[in-house]
Amino acid sequence: MFIRVKFTKTGAIRYIGHLDVMRYFQKCIRRAEIDVAYTGGFSPHQIMTFASPLSVGLESQAEYMDLKLNSMTSLQDIADALNAVSVPEIRIADVGLLPENAGNAMASVAAADYQIEFRAGKVPACLAAEGSEQSALDPDKCRAVIEKTLGRTEIPYTKVLKKGERILDLRPGILEFRFDEETNSLFLRCDASSAGNIKPIQVLESICAMEGETLAQYALLVTRLEMYTRTAAEEGAEGELIPMIGICEEHLA
């Protein structure tokens, strides 16, 4: 059976790279004595898949990992056992039983939500409140810039690759973009699929470039809030976005 585990990654642990988070969970699962399934051969490894890797330095409220188990007592026991042996910065937020036909976490990511804040002194002028020394957002300026951004038919972004450069169009990947009053930050829902993944920093760099500015280095404080998968497409209509855990018929939270 496959289960899907949703976990947070916060605080100092934001500096742990993706591969090391995988290694962390391999050890965590052994400490928790979870009856995970292994591959065969001389170096058997746990059967696990992670959804879209999180860049180093970002926090997340919703990372996902799929695990193949031989047995378990209950979903709650899995969550409790993992939390008991985990560092405080990584918490198991939810565990669900995956349906037989579900695609794995990596392949089925469609979109992600991000909360975007700025480090003190690094808010771009086009978004910054007057007199805040580029340390606070101005809601009206944010709304105006976002409206302008969403109004564009094309948002070209030059991605630097190992072999030269590639020009992407970010616009189709921006699914929702708004100023969030409650948290006083920007909210971005964007494509996170393997084919069309875009990153918050790319969107903000493009905005700055359009406004004739350059985004300061290490300006963004980004938190991933949720990751989505898409339900099967109906005739003539694209599938619907649901949180990754949502395809589990049974889950805790």
Binding site: T10, I16, D20, R23, K27, R30, F42, G57, E89, Q217
Partner: protein, 626 residues
């Protein structure tokens, strides 16, 4: 509790350096204490990069011990890598400990483990970045007591100026007394020197600033004496008597980043029965003491459970000599296979038993077997007292080839005292005979990759204190290179030379290692000057600056040859003679003479040779012999 998300380095720095995980702490099993409940703060440092330092068992043992003391909080410190080193200097950020992320200079103690000579400049890097004066004489109560431990402290003299204290021997025994003395002295308003003077009277503790050295005209030592009458003329190493009854970390810290030693390490015994004459560890850790197999089984399971590591490794100087090895391995094989845990075997003596075990835990097609004959001829193996005969090597290799192995690694040293060209050519001969054994043992149709692969590696021999070869001349750089060339020629002329690959080490580093290993206090200024001129991470070949070191010796008026190429007379006073490691100088001298005559000495399991370690009253010296 402390706020757990506080980091000493701002995001801009952590995001701009390689592997920020090295500097953030927060690992599983890292110990965090409430500072208001702590009276002694101990920073434990391994002066190399995190991945190396985190792999060291000794620190894990002491970390566990210190943190088991209610009044003490022990944290870890490693050498920042060169990228962060630059940033810390530029921004004047003081070096910090991982757990609290607070500056090392605010601690009561900075303990530094000194595992190899080539880390001496990194000690200065750590002190410098911590904003602690490099020389002990310039320090006040504003900075921690800097104390060194580990194998290199058996000759602490080349780094004596940089330490307030050295701990000679195994750390489990005297630290509690030292911390209590410290608390008392601080409470009573004692001066730093008063504390050091009292500390220097504790067993195993050496306070270098309170000893005076005088020299003869020829540069050798005339006298080495304490400045105060109550202080010991000789400092005897500390050891743990009963290994089942001491500290061992049941919850070792589990790093996020992949470290050199990414596994549970089970120390099965201390010391070695063998008595190879080149080997310092073999003398320093005498007498041999074993852990009971029951204790080890319990430790193994508990540590695997608490860490979640997917591998366990046995640690000792010679695991094949552990009395209950078959029972321990049988147990581990059974328990680990249930849990999908690998057993990483240390270099075992190759015989039917070890081959059987290895075939169970490794893919024989992918792994290689290791032999360490150390010398190419039987004559020279007798000189170095390496009890491994050609017959044993060849029959072990044959069995291995029959068992499916096709790769063999051979380790040798070049530059043993009395080595001749014939001995060196013997290396090629031996490798050739092993290859021939393969072609003889394995019929053509059964040869997996069609051929056998033999990798010969040579390092250069550096004489170390407290060995029979402490009197011996070390080869010059030119001699080393000449020997490597002879070895290569010897291999190239073999019939099976196509099956043999040859690797050799750089000679420069071995020369410097030799100077530092048998050096005296006059080297402190050279090390400090070399550091000031940019030398650190000398153990990393890409950062080793031989030309700067050689230039610094000249600038300081110190001749490296004095410490290396000279054969020392039998009665010369050595800089490390004030240390008593249990093995007597008389025994070592007798071994030096035996080596010149090619006379072998029994190992401890066969017969006691009277080395002196029995004076500790524990271990194999008192066990029944087979």
């Amino acid at each position: 509790m402390m706020k757990t998300d506080f980091l000493a380095l701002p995001d801009e720095i952590l995001l701009s350096i390689d592997k920020p995980e090295r500097y953030i702490g927060h690992e599983v099993n890292a110990v965090v204490k409430d500072l208001s409940q702590v009276q002694v703060r101990f920073a434990m440092c391994f002066p190399d990069v995190y991945e190396i330092g985190m792999s060291h068992l000794g620190i894990q043992i002491l970390y566990d011990m210190f943190n088991s003391f209610e009044d003490t909080w022990c944290e870890r410190v490693y050498s920042p890598w060169t990228d962060l080193d630059k940033v810390l200097r530029e921004k004047k950020i003081p070096l910090f400990a991982l757990e609290s992320q607070s500056p090392v200079k605010d601690f009561d103690f900075l303990g530094i483990t000194i595992q190899y000579e080539m880390c001496y400049t990194n000690i200065l890097q750590v002190l410098d970045l911590a904003q602690i004066p490099l020389e002990a004489k310039d320090r006040t109560w504003d900075v921690p007591i800097v104390i060194g431990g580990g194998p290199c402290t058996y000759n602490p003299e080349p780094i004596a100026d940089f330490f307030d204290l050295f701990y000679i021997g195994e750390g489990e025994t005297q630290y509690r007394a030292l911390l209590d003395l410290y608390k008392e002295c601080r409470k009573n308003g004692a001066t730093r020197e008063e504390f050091l003077r009292k500390a220097g009277c504790l067993p195993g503790i050496y306070a270098p600033s309170l000893y005076d050295v005088t020299y003869n005209e020829d540069g050798t030592i005339a006298s080495f004496l304490p400045r105060f009458p109550e202080m010991p003329k000789k400092i005897r190493k500390e050891i743990v008597g009963e290994l089942d009854d001491t500290y061992y970390p049941m919850k070792p810290v589990v790093p996020y980043i992949k470290c050199t030693q990414d596994r549970v390490v089970l120390e099965i015994m201390r010391g070695c029965i063998r008595g190879c004459r080149f080997c310092q560890a073999g003398e320093l850790y005498r007498p041999v003491r074993q852990r009971s197999v029951e204790t080890l089984k319990r430790y193994a399971m508990e540590m695997l459970k608490n860490t979640g590591h997917e591998e366990i490794s046995l640690s000792s100087l010679s695991s094949s000599d552990y009395t209950h090895l078959p029972e321990l391995l049988d147990y581990l094989l059974e328990e680990c296979s249930k849990r999908h845990i690998n057993i990483s075997l240390p270099s075992l003596r190759i015989d039917a038993f070890s081959l059987d075990v290895m075939s169970k835990v490794q893919d024989v097609k992918k792994t290689s077997l290791t032999f360490a004959p150390e010398a190419g001829s039987q004559r020279l193996r007798d000189v170095i007292n390496k009890g491994l005969s050609e017959e044993v090597i060849l029959s072990g290799a044959r069995e291995a080839f029959e068992g499916g192995w096709t790769r063999v690694k051979l380790y040798f040293m070049l530059g043993h005292p009395g080595e001749t060209d014939e001995d060196i050519v013997g290396i090629g001969d031996l490798a050739n005979k092993i290859a021939a054994e393969f072609f003889d043992a394995v019929p053509k149709e059964k040869r997996v990759n069609g051929r056998v692969q033999i990798v010969v590696s040579t390092s250069f021999f550096v004489p170390k204190p407290f060995t029979a070869f402490q009197w011996a001349p070390q080869c010059s750089k030119e001699q080393f290179i000449e020997k490597a060339y002879t070895c290569r020629q010897g291999i190239a002329s073999q019939l099976n030379q196509k099956s043999i690959k040859y690797n050799w080490h750089e000679a420069d580093v071995s020369v410097l290692e030799g100077v530092l290993a048998r050096g005296d206090r006059r080297l402190c200024k050279v090390i400090k000057r070399a550091y000031e001129k940019g030398c650190f991470y000398d153990a990393w070949s890409e950062y080793y600056k031989n030309d700067v070191w050689m230039e610094t010796f000249e600038e300081c008026g110190v001749d490296p040859d004095f410490y290396t190429v000279r054969e020392r007379p039998d009665d010369e006073i050595f800089p490390w003679d004030f240390i008593d490691c249990g093995v007597s100088r008389k025994f070592l001298l007798q071994e030096w003479h035996n080596s010149k005559e090619g006379k072998v000495t029994n190992n401890c399991a066969d017969k006691c040779s009277g080395c002196g370690a029995a004076s500790f009253g524990v271990g194999i010296c008192f066990a029944a012999r087979s």
